[in-house]
Assembly symmetry: C2
């Protein structure tokens, strides 16, 4: 286990820069979707009562700010880009929770649990519309920025579609989900939006295409790393930190990287794991605990750890080998460490 | 009853112009959302088997084409605008059916009934992402076009939010839904997208703002007229034509213009109607039939008819008193007749 790292200062800095504009944008919504959007953003409870210090970690706005600063584009472009990315991210969480039936999010009821399925769908739509409107108003390169967000969302939808389809596939045999297929899904579902976050400010500011593409690639690697970390936390994470029950993903029978890698390893533990999972029903806590041990024995935990660290290293390579502003590279590396290593 | 009018030729013309690009855009999607999107567009059944001559009436693409031609902007701008409008319209139908719990759409199972709620949410998201991407790729004025669609969608969401909130309001008393509130909702829910349809090609082609605004206003009037017609058909429409059960909106206790106008009229029939509706449960067919008679006696049917015709006249005024191309104005008037009078 790596030591817990300090919270990178860019998280606070980008929040101060972006949040006023984000709140102003959400304030444009009809009162009801506005309430639901504010809830999903962590700003208030389900009755609309403000919550102090709410909100997510703010990783995506921080990536937007650093991406913009890295290429030396005017900081004003970071704000609409960061607002749009945070709105799209929140939209995708709200709709994904509907699709996946997830009842908890950030230690609270998910939006559809708090407001109902139909209203949550509406809240997501409102967030996405707002994202697009914000970005399209972002000046001369607004259309290019919207195209990038549209393309990222199309990838995100494709990833989510695969994720839903994986649920009905068997754990073993020729129809089983291959590790490579899983990683392509994760790249779409998580990588596309992080790639967009790093690239969007530069796109809005008209930065040179090669620099934009390096940032996008680094973001994609970060996303894959981030998803692997999430998968590890879904099994071995501390419920107090994740806000999810212990062994959550195993109990639900969710196909994640450590489990798929363990099954594909072909060891004795892989075969015993396949028998446990093959029953096709939700695992009881004792069986889930047994399965977690087998995933580890078959090398699945290590595989996912290596993947997270490998992708983070790839992102670091991109950050350090392109002509980015040196002081910003330091912050990008710090944020990478925070994202990937902090809880492993 | 007006005689049934011929199908305006612009519907066929615009379909031929727009459909290849629409199919190419949908073809970009992941196979699963592509299948669901194609189903929602009426192109195939739930198993993906193509349906001959499927699809809606194509009113919105026709409005885009005529709006573009009316201001003399190059026809090439009509295509991405029409594709985007049709995608946004289909997205809104798919999500609205989830929110409203509507099980039927165009004589078939609605998308969420055919594929499940989560997948239908995903299909809608995919359609919207594609709309935005298409439009943002539409050239020099792409950002302005995206802003307009984003704003229209925000209005649409606000209208849908009001519509959902109206469900929980009483039929009578100080909390009752006023006719004016209802009409504001309808303007958001239906008017915003028709306004966008007429204006979007000209926006994409960089037409003068005053002409764009006249078209948008005309579209808003058309939308209000269209919604009033829909409300009339929801009670008195022929199930064979509407694809919905007889007296559908009364049986469901849906708040629509004829009913709200009848209740607000203060006649003896209004009071008897209030008693029938006030029970707060779904109406049985016999009671619904009785309620329909009372709505008519209290003047609600006539009110909605007058509203539909008045808004259509307002749209005609806009079409005929602006410097639009004369031959296109004829087609706009023909389409207006078709939209509003054909089934009344």
């Amino acid at each position: 286990m790596a030591p817990v790292l300090d919270r990178p200062r860019v998280l606070e800095r980008s929040r101060e820069l972006v949040e006023p504009a984000l709140r102003a944008a959400v304030g444009e919504l009809h009162p009801w979707p506005r309430r639901m959007a504010s809830y999903a953003l962590g700003w208030c409870d389900a009755d609309g009562v403000p919550l102090p210090g709410g909100g997510g970690k703010g990783v995506r706005p921080a990536l937007v700010v650093l991406g913009t600063e890295a290429v030396g584009v005017a900081a004003e472009h970071a704000v609409p880009a960061a607002v749009a990315v945070e709105l799209v991210h929140t939209f995708s969480l709200v709709h994904d929770d509907v699709m996946d039936g997830d009842e908890r999010r950030r230690h609270r009821a998910s939006a559809w649990q708090a407001f109902g399925t139909g209203p949550a769908v509406l809240a997501g739509d409102a967030l996405f519309a707002l994202a697009v409107e914000t970005l399209a108003g972002g000046g001369r390169h607004g259309a290019a920025a919207v195209r990038r967000v549209g393309a990222a969302l199309r990838e995100l939808v494709a990833g989510q579609a695969d994720d839903l389809l994986f649920e009905d596939r068997p754990w073993t045999g020729p129809e089983a989900v291959a590790v490579a297929e899983y990683e392509a899904m994760a790249a779409g579902k998580t990588g596309s939006l992080l790639a967009c976050a790093l690239a969007l400010g530069p796109v809005l500011g008209g930065a040179p295409a090669p620099l934009v593409e390096v940032l996008a690639r680094a973001g994609r690697e970060l996303g894959t790393a981030f998803q692997a970390v999430d998968d590890l936390l879904g099994i071995w994470g501390d419920p107090a930190a994740t806000g999810k029950p212990v062994l959550a993903d195993l109990v639900r029978g969710k196909k994640t990287l450590p489990v798929l890698a363990a099954l594909a390893a072909g060891t004795a533990a892989s075969r015993r794991l396949a028998v446990l999972l093959g029953a096709g029903t939700a695992l009881d806590p004792a069986t889930a605990a047994e399965a977690a041990v087998l995933v580890e024995e078959a090398g699945g935990r290590q595989f996912a750890l290596d993947r997270a660290r490998g992708c983070a290293d790839a992102a670091r390579e991109y950050f350090t080998h392109a002509p980015f502003r040196q002081e910003v590279v330091g912050e990008l590396l710090e944020l990478t460490d925070f994202l990937v290593d902090r809880r492993l």
